[in-house]
Amino acid sequence: VYIKGKAWTFGRNVNTDLIFPKMWFRPTYESGEMASHLMVGIDEEFPRRVSRGDVIVGGQNFGCGSSREEAAAAMKEAGIAAVVAPTFGRLFTRNAINVGLPIVTSPRIDEEIAQGDVIEIDLVQGVLRNLRSGYAVRLPPMAPESLRLIEDGGIAAYTRRVLEERRRAKA
């Protein structure tokens, strides 16, 4: 999986209440609706300013707090190519993998990327480069299970396949 995109930087301990405030919770969402509320707890203009293919860069413990999947799903829907931080909240990590959003962990990466930098990520080779500064870093290998889920397009595709295999086994 190869990614090249413009970075949007955020701080430490950005919780999912900020990424997707609960005032926008709905039992079901229209197409594009979740993306239209992405990051509005921090920047109300963000959904209009961000472009497909951009990369979100957070500080330590990015996506902490509530389990709301909308935080990761809104990024996926907005076309965010990857989300990068030194560490992530556990629930956000799971949700990102499940919706097929590439999630990249690298120590002190928030100090190496500035707003607007162009970032290149090769998930298979495990390399991240900052094309402005020339900074390059090897990424810790993703668990093969997680990488497969992302390549599959998320947990929905995985589940569909398991169900299909079970149906075939029965038939």
Partner: protein, 419 residues
Amino acid sequence: MHAIAKIIARHADRQGVEVGEIVNVVPDFVMLNDRGAARASDLLRKMGGEKVFDPDRIVVVFDHHYPPIRQQDSVSQKKTREWIKEQGIAKFHAGEGIGHVIFPEKGYAFPGALIFGTDSHTVTNSALGCVATGMGHSDIASYLAIGYNWLKVPEVIRFDLHGDFRPGVYAKDIALRIAQLYGEDAAPYLGVEFAGPLVARMPVSERLVLCNMVIDFGAKTGYIQPDETTARWMAQRAPDRRWMPETTDSDSDYGRIIDLDVSAIEPLVAVPHDLSTVRSDADLGDVRIDEAIFGTCTGGRIDDFRVAAALMKGRKLAPHTRMMVNPGSRETYVQAMHEGLIDIMVEAGATIGVPGCGPCSGCHQGMLAPAENAITNASRNFRGRFGSPDANAYVASSATVAASAIAGRIVSPAEPPAH
């Protein structure tokens, strides 16, 4: 192996597992709240699933948006009721309180169990010596479809708590002290165990508060080794439930062991807008309180009501202060009525709401206006959580919240002023 690893191994049908290993597990119970049931049932269909894998393991709780105030929630809850019937899900609780309060009360949480829930505070249950963790809606929908989901076996850190509480100090203050010392990412992806002589003396209600807060240190689950207190709780709550606790082999099964003497801890308050800045009441200066928000899965149990009512008895809320109270469960509500605690709070000027998440669910009564200050015994003070993003929320113990509601500003419960 740590008890947490053994519990995961048992639910993965494995003899042993290693820390860091990813295994597929079958949980004992899965909690879907109103939001979770609506989203997960929808996602289940989109994943091509028709029937849930095992309806007996599913517990549906309406707690966030119940009773609904938006028509979209009424419609969605009607659909969920129909879905539950269709799927043969018998364990359904609407208006009975918050999932994480009901689960221990009704014996859905038990020693040695593995519990999933569509909510981050599912970790609360781990106080009974089980593994309990939150998941996203797609994660849960996938479980509903295929009957298992993956878990990574976490490293575990242990806090050994000892010493004696100062007056006005509670388990909540210990949790805030840990946030103060180690930050909101004290335990990323880890299991957090509480042990030591202080925990041995703690009632289940205080243990639940400790484990409730581990999610806000980044943890996957809490853990407290089941003991006689746990066994008594289970005997009262769920005498028919068969349960088997696990035990940890040795101290080498911990990534880290941290000693914490609580004797030095004062009543603490987390200041807006996260848990990383914690101060003692005395250091805060004069913080005017417009609203006290009392209840939630952190502070909505009967012991919280007892502590608050003792401080509020015969007193009135400060004239500029309002207080929103939501019992954590219907059982708590009834018990608090029987003990006269509700009378005390209402006579003091508090408003009693429905058992459930209350304003902490973000769309119920008691929302804050811009520039207002609130103090709450909930777990989080995130920006915008209780209404306006320009309001300020302070997190503290039930005692500090009650004392501050009377004083109209943040005060230590150790010295409540007469009002």
